[in-house]
Amino acid sequence: MRDLQSHKQGWQANVRKQTLKLGYWTLAWLLTMALANFGPEFLWQPNELATMAAIGLNLLVGIGMIVSNKDPLRSLDEMQQKIQLEAMGLTLGVGLVSGLAYSNLDVTNIIRSDAEISHVVILMGLTYLGTVAALTGKMR
Protein backbone atom coordinates (compact mmCIF):
# COMPACT_ATOMS: atom_id res chain seq x y z
CA MET A 1 0.00 0.00 0.00
CA ARG A 2 2.80 2.39 0.95
CA ASP A 3 4.67 1.58 -2.26
CA LEU A 4 1.53 2.21 -4.30
CA GLN A 5 1.01 5.57 -2.64
CA SER A 6 4.67 6.46 -3.18
CA HIS A 7 4.37 5.52 -6.85
CA LYS A 8 1.28 7.66 -7.26
CA GLN A 9 3.14 10.65 -5.86
CA GLY A 10 5.82 10.17 -8.47
CA TRP A 11 9.33 8.92 -8.04
CA GLN A 12 10.99 12.32 -7.81
CA ALA A 13 8.43 13.67 -5.34
CA ASN A 14 9.09 10.66 -3.14
CA VAL A 15 12.87 11.23 -3.25
CA ARG A 16 12.31 14.88 -2.28
CA LYS A 17 9.97 13.91 0.55
CA GLN A 18 12.37 11.32 1.97
CA THR A 19 15.36 13.66 1.67
CA LEU A 20 13.44 16.43 3.44
CA LYS A 21 12.54 14.00 6.24
CA LEU A 22 16.20 13.12 6.68
CA GLY A 23 16.99 16.85 6.66
CA TYR A 24 14.62 17.41 9.61
CA TRP A 25 16.21 14.54 11.55
CA THR A 26 19.68 15.91 10.81
CA LEU A 27 18.65 19.39 11.97
CA ALA A 28 17.19 17.94 15.18
CA TRP A 29 20.41 15.98 15.75
CA LEU A 30 22.52 19.13 15.24
CA LEU A 31 20.34 21.08 17.69
CA THR A 32 20.60 18.38 20.35
CA MET A 33 24.36 18.23 19.70
CA ALA A 34 24.57 21.98 20.33
CA LEU A 35 22.44 21.55 23.47
CA ALA A 36 24.75 18.82 24.80
CA ASN A 37 27.86 20.88 24.00
CA PHE A 38 26.82 24.37 25.07
CA GLY A 39 24.10 23.55 27.62
CA PRO A 40 26.48 22.88 30.52
CA GLU A 41 28.15 26.26 30.03
CA PHE A 42 25.27 28.53 29.05
CA LEU A 43 22.01 26.93 30.20
CA TRP A 44 22.33 24.87 33.35
CA GLN A 45 25.87 25.45 34.59
CA PRO A 46 27.68 22.28 35.74
CA ASN A 47 24.86 19.79 36.41
CA GLU A 48 25.84 16.23 35.62
CA LEU A 49 22.27 14.92 35.40
CA ALA A 50 21.18 17.59 32.92
CA THR A 51 24.32 17.04 30.84
CA MET A 52 23.77 13.27 30.78
CA ALA A 53 20.13 13.82 29.76
CA ALA A 54 21.21 16.13 26.92
CA ILE A 55 23.82 13.63 25.69
CA GLY A 56 21.23 10.83 25.92
CA LEU A 57 18.74 12.92 23.93
CA ASN A 58 21.43 13.62 21.32
CA LEU A 59 22.17 9.90 21.10
CA LEU A 60 18.47 8.99 20.70
CA VAL A 61 17.89 11.61 18.01
CA GLY A 62 21.10 10.42 16.33
CA ILE A 63 19.75 6.87 16.21
CA GLY A 64 16.53 8.24 14.70
CA MET A 65 18.61 10.08 12.09
CA ILE A 66 20.51 6.88 11.20
CA VAL A 67 17.27 4.88 10.88
CA SER A 68 15.59 7.61 8.83
CA ASN A 69 18.57 7.58 6.43
CA LYS A 70 17.38 4.17 5.21
CA ASP A 71 14.29 5.53 3.41
CA PRO A 72 16.03 8.20 1.29
CA LEU A 73 18.61 5.62 0.24
CA ARG A 74 15.88 3.17 -0.75
CA SER A 75 14.01 5.87 -2.66
CA LEU A 76 17.02 6.53 -4.93
CA ASP A 77 17.27 4.79 -8.28
CA GLU A 78 19.83 2.05 -8.89
CA MET A 79 22.58 4.27 -10.29
CA GLN A 80 22.24 6.76 -7.45
CA GLN A 81 22.32 3.89 -4.95
CA LYS A 82 25.52 2.59 -6.57
CA ILE A 83 27.11 6.04 -6.28
CA GLN A 84 26.06 6.31 -2.63
CA LEU A 85 27.37 2.83 -1.85
CA GLU A 86 30.79 3.55 -3.37
CA ALA A 87 30.99 6.96 -1.69
CA MET A 88 30.01 5.59 1.72
CA GLY A 89 32.39 2.64 1.38
CA LEU A 90 35.30 4.89 0.52
CA THR A 91 34.37 7.33 3.30
CA LEU A 92 34.30 4.50 5.85
CA GLY A 93 37.71 3.27 4.71
CA VAL A 94 39.28 6.73 4.72
CA GLY A 95 37.76 7.50 8.12
CA LEU A 96 38.96 4.26 9.68
CA VAL A 97 42.49 4.24 8.26
CA SER A 98 43.25 7.95 8.62
CA GLY A 99 41.47 8.16 11.99
CA LEU A 100 43.57 5.39 13.50
CA ALA A 101 46.78 6.75 11.93
CA TYR A 102 45.94 10.18 13.37
CA SER A 103 45.34 8.56 16.76
CA ASN A 104 48.72 6.80 16.55
CA LEU A 105 50.40 10.13 15.83
CA ASP A 106 48.83 11.49 19.01
CA VAL A 107 49.58 8.42 21.17
CA THR A 108 53.23 8.37 20.09
CA ASN A 109 53.48 12.15 20.67
CA ILE A 110 54.61 12.82 17.12
CA ILE A 111 52.02 15.60 16.94
CA ARG A 112 52.02 18.06 19.81
CA SER A 113 48.29 18.76 19.92
CA ASP A 114 45.57 16.26 20.84
CA ALA A 115 43.94 14.33 18.01
CA GLU A 116 40.49 15.87 17.56
CA ILE A 117 37.64 13.66 16.37
CA SER A 118 36.18 16.67 14.57
CA HIS A 119 39.15 16.61 12.18
CA VAL A 120 38.28 13.04 11.19
CA VAL A 121 34.61 13.98 10.78
CA ILE A 122 35.59 16.86 8.47
CA LEU A 123 37.85 14.55 6.44
CA MET A 124 35.04 11.98 6.14
CA GLY A 125 32.55 14.65 5.08
CA LEU A 126 34.90 15.99 2.42
CA THR A 127 35.70 12.46 1.20
CA TYR A 128 32.00 11.63 0.89
CA LEU A 129 31.12 14.86 -0.94
CA GLY A 130 34.16 14.62 -3.22
CA THR A 131 33.44 11.00 -4.12
CA VAL A 132 29.74 11.65 -4.85
CA ALA A 133 30.72 14.63 -7.04
CA ALA A 134 33.43 12.66 -8.87
CA LEU A 135 31.22 9.61 -9.51
CA THR A 136 28.26 11.75 -10.59
CA GLY A 137 30.55 13.62 -13.00
CA LYS A 138 31.92 10.34 -14.33
CA MET A 139 28.41 9.14 -15.21
CA ARG A 140 27.64 12.26 -17.27
Binding site: H7, W11, Q12, D77, E78, M79, Q80, K82, M139, R140
Partner: protein, 66 residues
Protein backbone atom coordinates in the same frame (compact mmCIF):
# COMPACT_ATOMS: atom_id res chain seq x y z
CA UNK B 1 26.76 -3.03 -23.25
CA UNK B 2 25.28 -1.19 -26.22
CA UNK B 3 21.66 -0.09 -26.28
CA UNK B 4 19.07 1.53 -28.53
CA UNK B 5 17.45 3.59 -25.79
CA UNK B 6 18.29 6.94 -27.38
CA UNK B 7 16.91 5.88 -30.79
CA UNK B 8 13.73 4.41 -29.30
CA UNK B 9 13.23 7.52 -27.21
CA UNK B 10 13.78 9.81 -30.20
CA UNK B 11 11.28 7.78 -32.29
CA UNK B 12 8.64 8.57 -29.69
CA UNK B 13 9.77 12.16 -29.36
CA UNK B 14 10.38 11.78 -25.62
CA UNK B 15 12.91 13.77 -23.65
CA UNK B 16 15.30 12.05 -21.24
CA UNK B 17 13.24 13.48 -18.39
CA UNK B 18 10.01 12.03 -19.79
CA UNK B 19 11.55 8.59 -20.24
CA UNK B 20 13.04 8.80 -16.75
CA UNK B 21 9.61 9.56 -15.31
CA UNK B 22 8.06 6.60 -17.13
CA UNK B 23 10.78 4.25 -15.83
CA UNK B 24 10.88 5.68 -12.28
CA UNK B 25 14.54 6.67 -12.44
CA UNK B 26 16.42 9.96 -12.59
CA UNK B 27 17.21 11.77 -15.85
CA UNK B 28 20.90 11.36 -15.04
CA UNK B 29 20.46 7.59 -15.01
CA UNK B 30 18.80 7.61 -18.45
CA UNK B 31 21.66 9.77 -19.73
CA UNK B 32 24.28 7.41 -18.26
CA UNK B 33 22.55 4.35 -19.76
CA UNK B 34 22.27 5.99 -23.18
CA UNK B 35 25.96 6.86 -23.12
CA UNK B 36 26.90 3.33 -22.05
CA UNK B 37 28.35 4.53 -18.75
CA UNK B 38 25.89 2.59 -16.63
CA UNK B 39 24.36 -0.83 -17.24
CA UNK B 40 20.79 -1.13 -15.95
CA UNK B 41 19.68 -3.94 -13.68
CA UNK B 42 17.50 -6.72 -15.07
CA UNK B 43 14.29 -5.30 -13.49
CA UNK B 44 14.96 -1.89 -15.08
CA UNK B 45 15.75 -3.53 -18.43
CA UNK B 46 12.44 -5.42 -18.21
CA UNK B 47 10.59 -2.17 -17.42
CA UNK B 48 12.17 -0.53 -20.47
CA UNK B 49 11.29 -3.52 -22.64
CA UNK B 50 7.67 -3.44 -21.44
CA UNK B 51 7.46 0.31 -22.03
CA UNK B 52 8.70 0.05 -25.62
CA UNK B 53 6.84 -3.21 -26.31
CA UNK B 54 10.07 -4.99 -27.22
CA UNK B 55 12.26 -7.73 -25.82
CA UNK B 56 15.31 -6.90 -23.70
CA UNK B 57 17.55 -8.17 -26.51
CA UNK B 58 15.92 -5.71 -28.90
CA UNK B 59 17.05 -2.84 -26.69
CA UNK B 60 20.28 -4.03 -25.06
CA UNK B 61 23.08 -5.88 -26.83
CA UNK B 62 26.29 -7.33 -25.50
CA UNK B 63 29.20 -5.10 -26.49
CA UNK B 64 31.43 -7.98 -27.51
CA UNK B 65 29.31 -10.97 -28.57
CA UNK B 66 31.39 -14.16 -28.47
Amino acid sequence: MRNRLKVLRAERDWTQAQLAEKLDVSRQTINAIEKGKFDPSLPLAFRAARLFGLTIEDIFQDQDPA
